[in-house]
Amino acid sequence: MLRGGLIPRRPYIISGASGTGKTILAMQFIVEGLKRDEPCMWVSLDEPPNELKANMATFGWHLDHLKILDATPDIRMHKRTKSVIDVGTTLDVRDMEEVRDIRVSQQLRSMEVSIHSVQKMLKQEFFQHLERTKETYQRIAIDSMTALKMFSMVGIDSRIMIQSFMRFLSELEATCVIVSEHLDTSNIETEFFLARGEIRLHKWLDGSSIRRAVSIEKMRGSGFDDKMRPMTVGPNGATVDPAGKVPLNTTVVHALGSQFLERRVAEQATGSIEKAFEMAEQCRRLGHDVSRIEMDLTRAMLMIQRGELNDATDMVEKVKQGMELLLKPKPEAPVPPPPPEEAHGI
């Protein structure tokens, strides 16, 4: 789908709702690196490493030598003291095989994670690793940005902090995958905006079975397969069928929510357009030129996409009224042909 893979040394986003398989996909990217003896690092912000280890054990991957940076925040101390220390001072990077139990919050000094402290930890580990092994990390996974944003960033500076963090990742010159949920499509999330590509995962219920799919939403500097492809998660991890088809019927589109059609697209408006297209078909059969009508309906569809629901409905109603006149059995009054506009279908 990516025409060969990711362009190296750039940051990318793996997005999707919870449970779509983002962490698995990110881990598979890391596993591939480990197979090629590339130094890889996992930055855990969501799940404590022990849980991650347990969850990934089912796939039978060799993760023993994966470096894990535990940046999960401690239990917060709800005291009005400023005794919170930055994670930077308690850098915890270990091999996966050394991961045992959850780290217990310290009684006296609890650590709070901020994007800045994660950045400092990453930097410290990056250069310590370089000194120890004379090698730089080639693949870094960050799981997840959502956690970082929800729990540890407050105030208006968050955009600038993320911008700086993305710049920092770019300068490390490792290929990074950042796991992130897109919480609100009416918002431009900084990490999505700055990432050089986005791989989006989807999940919906088809009858009683869960279906999954993957799509490439953005990939700078490379062409890509622009269709949605089915994905399954099996005992060996995620598998994508690059030739498979995902039927995008109304249920699926609806189940996928805002990702394809606006949340604001009321069934009603869509239904109204469908009806209008049926009418247009009748008009066409009666020998009327419907190119203008079809174009207006196409415009109405795009208006819906843009969220201009009222305008779209108005437009559809106007077109419908026009067609009703055409469809009325009035053989003696010849309908003036519409202006010879060029048809432009989608």
Partner: protein, 252 residues
Amino acid sequence: MISNKQSTGIRGLDKMLHGGLVPGRAYIVSGPPGAGKTILSSQFLVDGVEGGEKVLFVALEEPPNELKYNLRVFGWPIDGIEVLDANSDIRRFEPTPILEISTEEEPARFSQIRDEIRKTPDVESHEVSIHSLQQLLKTLFIKRGYTRVVIDSMTALRYFCMKDFEENISTQSFMRFLAESKVTTLLTVETSEAMEMAPEAFLARGEIRLYRVRDESGIKRFISIEKYKGSTHDESIRPFDITPKGIVVHAG
């Protein structure tokens, strides 16, 4: 009607604009991520290079080395484009003096851009503010006499180079500055997937909007002229493709 319009470098789009852009004004190119805003704007600059004009790309979103790599596939003569790297460095959150992008900063030609990303220096970091950028552009416009400029993107400028409280006023003043500069400018604006209106669009002389619609057969792209002061234009939404030679608009 203004007769001597400037080509966008995209034939179908010129047709939609009834000849091209009125020179010396600022226009918005808006659209969701991955719609093709950067490609469209680059094509506009390439057209200028081919006509022997001096053109400038202000990169606020992507490091120039990556941009150069990304554009290579189209085989355009991009070497003649000058690019100003206005990406902010990694920020320092300590109270050390920051170095604002200063009037000493010079744009480089694409041919001079190296393959690696510019690294944040250890001692000082380079931060871009709307004020310093405006100052710098002012000097550059006078010194170099650009006829085409692309700001990629206005969204990055708003997000990362302005203080929250001054966003609207600074944007307005920046647009005013561009209008007074009499350089044809394309400003890219990222819209959210829900397609909300960008405030810049009110201030620009025109808006070219890109759409990205996904259906069963893949991603489809459309383009429309939402606003064009001082000229008539095509009011339809037209499909376009990103081909190995760049953007092709099917304007009927």
